[in-house]
Symmetry: C3
């Protein structure tokens, strides 16, 4: 298609790379958070900064999209990609914020496991997003998407296992309310990561 010869705006790629890096930063922050006895103010501030910077990149993408006539891929895909990456960061922020508000203390091994899977997924998401720049379906991009899908299934099974155990063993209903929500949030991060690579997949199919 002649479209391929039109100049492409490299800045969108740079901005998406940045946003994906903030998603990885958020995942790193979560890994640290769940390994502590409790969330302190310094830590909350660190996560808030990541979320705030991620927001700014998302707004820059949308503003640029609204002002740019020719974009490297479909407008709705640019919009969806920025939104889903922002949602990954927001959801991680929500988990850390809830752990603080609900005064979760002590290291919960389920949350440690979840945060490892979330970190792996965020890394694979970043790899997939950075692969967009090449505009072809490389093995590395394809492998990253497959990995994110795999980790979503891992997360589903983990959530079912930990919720089953929670209902079986935890007799305090208030603790059940708190942990149930946070475990479900953790699995939701992996769902949103999968949504990101669905958008990446859509973009690549249209380039083919």
């Amino acid at each position: 298609m002649f479209f391929k010869f039109l100049p492409r705006d490299g800045n969108f790629f740079n901005l998406f790379d940045k946003q994906a890096d903030f998603a990885v930063d958020a995942a790193v922050c979560l890994k640290e958070a769940v390994s502590k006895d409790h969330i302190d103010e310094e830590f909350l501030q660190k996560m808030r900064n990541i979320e705030h910077q991620g927001d700014e990149v998302a707004h820059e993408i949308i503003d640029r999209l609204n002002k740019t006539f020719i974009t490297p891929f479909d407008r709705e895909d640019i919009h969806a990609l920025a939104k889903e990456l922002d949602d990954v960061i927001d959801m991680v922020n929500t988990i850390i914020s809830r752990m603080n508000v609900y005064k979760i203390s002590g290291v919960d091994k389920n949350l440690v496991e979840f945060s490892d899977v979330i970190y792996d997924s965020a890394k694979a998401v970043a790899c997939a997003v950075k692969g967009l720049r090449n505009m072809k379906y490389t093995k590395s991009l394809s492998d990253s998407c497959v990995e994110v899908n795999r980790l979503e299934n891992v997360g589903d099974a983990m959530r079912d296992k930990v919720l089953g155990e929670l209902f079986e063993k935890q007799k305090d209903p208030i603790t059940v309310i708190k942990l149930k929500e946070i475990y479900q949030d953790a699995e939701t991060v992996l769902d949103i990561c999968e949504d990101v690579v669905h958008v990446v997949g859509s973009i690549m199919v249209k380039q083919a």
Copy 2:
């Protein structure tokens, strides 16, 4: 409009018919699930198969959409319809999976009632989706949409009634947590069915 004389891709209709049939299969599966004392592994596998096949049809629709230049109706409507039908199946799968994870045992008459309404709604959704092929607003298509809207209202009233009773009569907070979520999920299936026929309605208005 001259657009009407362009060749239309019959395959989209076939794929949507398939997806709608899987939504009905999921509803049948739910009806069976809630009539059993508990969900066993064989049953979970059956539902997972339906969900998996539904996923494959959804992906085929999106892939085809991304590769097709002229589509029988607006691209965003095709995308929305595939997504909403997939969401119906996913939500039913979520209910059955939660009943298993939460170890719900014994037949709950509220869930039996909900599953009947969900089945009726899925049947009416399938009828509406299959009517798209004719590209005109037949009485049957219109009646199906009205029926799905009616059943959503029935579901709203049922959810309010059963949640009111649950909070009044059930003294075990853990049971409240479990059943509240599953009743709300059941009502959500009916909301998503309504979303499907909203998309169908949008498509028909544009054909007029």
Copy 3:
């Protein structure tokens, strides 16, 4: 752009003004609801009427959109704006309905505070939506958007504070379940108000 000289359909603006007014009506209704000892049938009916009229305006917007070739701004923005305004009204309706179903009685000072913030946000949303008609970024429109964003942050902090207190002080798990959901719903109204002004912002950027 020559586009600016094309006739613009004034009716979209009238319809959005109406929808925004219904959002304010819903917020007024919520303020009244939370100042009462309990929600009675007359009150539920009042809210249902607002929700129903709001629905009708939303459907009129979508129908008109599907039948109109040239619209005053991007089709997807019209769709998004109608949907988000409808979601504001629906969420307020959900809160009032839940207060009734969960038999919340007595005046809860947290809900009174939330309803004040929601009312302020709905007023600012209406001001922003009504500013669209001028098709330029007036100070009043810009101030309204900033205010809605500010109130969303206020709501976030309020939710964290009241949930923290709820978990600390409320020993009855059933009451925790009920109030937690309603407080989170209240904060969600403010999130959706922010989504409305994001759409308004997108529209204004494209006009620049």
